[in-house]
Amino acid sequence: MILTIAKKEFRSLFAAPSTWLMLALMQFLFAWFYFGRINDYLLVQAQLARLDNAPGATISIAAPVCGMLALMLMMLIPLFTMRLIAEERRNQTWVLLLTAPVSSAHIVLGKFLGLMLLLVLIVAGCAAMLATLLLGTHADTGLLLANILGVLLLAASYAALGLYFSALNKQPIIAATGAMGLSFGLWLLELSANDNRGFLRSLSPNAHFQNLNMGLVNSADLIYFVLFISTLLLLTIRHLNNERRNAS
């Protein structure tokens, strides 16, 4: 049942021209940024060669590209998640799911998975481009994989957050701006922190992404992401259950 809903979500995301436009635009921006980074690296390569323990190509090129990818996903994902529940409510197709023999958990997990499939594709497009580093240099595959894992986990967190806002609202735009606002807030918590050990900073998914961005796969960070995602998904399921069972 979850897979049925996931497959339908994935297909209808792809039926929308806006999805293709976003994919094309993102890929173009990655490529631009990627070549910019390569160019910068080549300019300073001669000086770097004189240093002991100089930063390698992977950390100076791939890590910033993934950092940018994370930032773009933060802005894009709410636009996808607003369609998942809030827009169905507005288009009055939500009744179909409400009167079908499926539980709220089926609906939420199905929609989450469907969106994740699309996000995996976006990340894979970026990863394929970064893989071209392997052609020209001994790239640090461990660092590359840590970055990709980090971006995926971060994308899943934003997707879960967006889904929750989508469940709370009837207006897609409010759902999108709400989720975007909170993601920005969490990002700013990370940016504005003075030291790396602050409590507020550790609330932000971006702070935990920073470690993976530097190639540090820390079990504490992984647990944080799993908790963040599952809490928001559970909240969404709970909210829908409440709405279905209790008349307001």
Partner: protein, 244 residues
Amino acid sequence: MTAPLTLSACNLMRRRDNRLVVDGVSLELRRGQVLGLLGHNGAGKSTTLQMLTGALPPHSGQVEVCEYDIQKEPQKAKACIGFLPEHPPLYRDMRVDDFLLFAARLHRIPSAKLADALALSKQRCGLQDSGRKIIGSLSKGYQQRVGIAQAIIHNPAVVVLDEPTVGLDPAQIRDIRTLIRELGDSSSVILSTHLLNEAESLCDRVIILQRGRLIYSGSSTEMMANGNMEEAFLHITESEAASA
């Protein structure tokens, strides 16, 4: 011998802004019956149907479908219902076939039987040639047919139709009425309508709602005993309004 009970609702209530939209409606439906729900605009017909199908939780009262309580065992109860709401729940960017298959899978039709179910419901609703079309590009009448096809694709025991013939041309109305009569042989049908001649020609039993309350319930032959249905309807609703 009476046919088994497929749907029963007991004392349903639903408020909106402290006003009772549906006030203590109870009804029963047996297999093989077609029940018509009549009433003026805003009488609470759609709200009642939404509560019967589990789309809207009632403030009080309970609904049982095929002996499953819709609040306590929602999945089992909902598997027995097909619902066409007032606004057909159609994904406008999907193809008719894909949409109907999605609806069929949601209602847990095993994949081996999907093709048969799809072909049958399309044939019943006259959609044989529209399978590849995008729903958003269909006319209102065809969209309505897709909505009905979606409601009957899993061959439910109870079919709930909210104004099924709205927006259809006379030939389509005739086809849909034939279909409803056909459905009434094997399952129970409950439909809401403004058209009294529709109720007259289709329904075995009729109930009338006014301001959320059930003011009449009886077989359609009883109702037409003294004249035609339109006169009877006006007589019942007006005398009720006068006494209120």
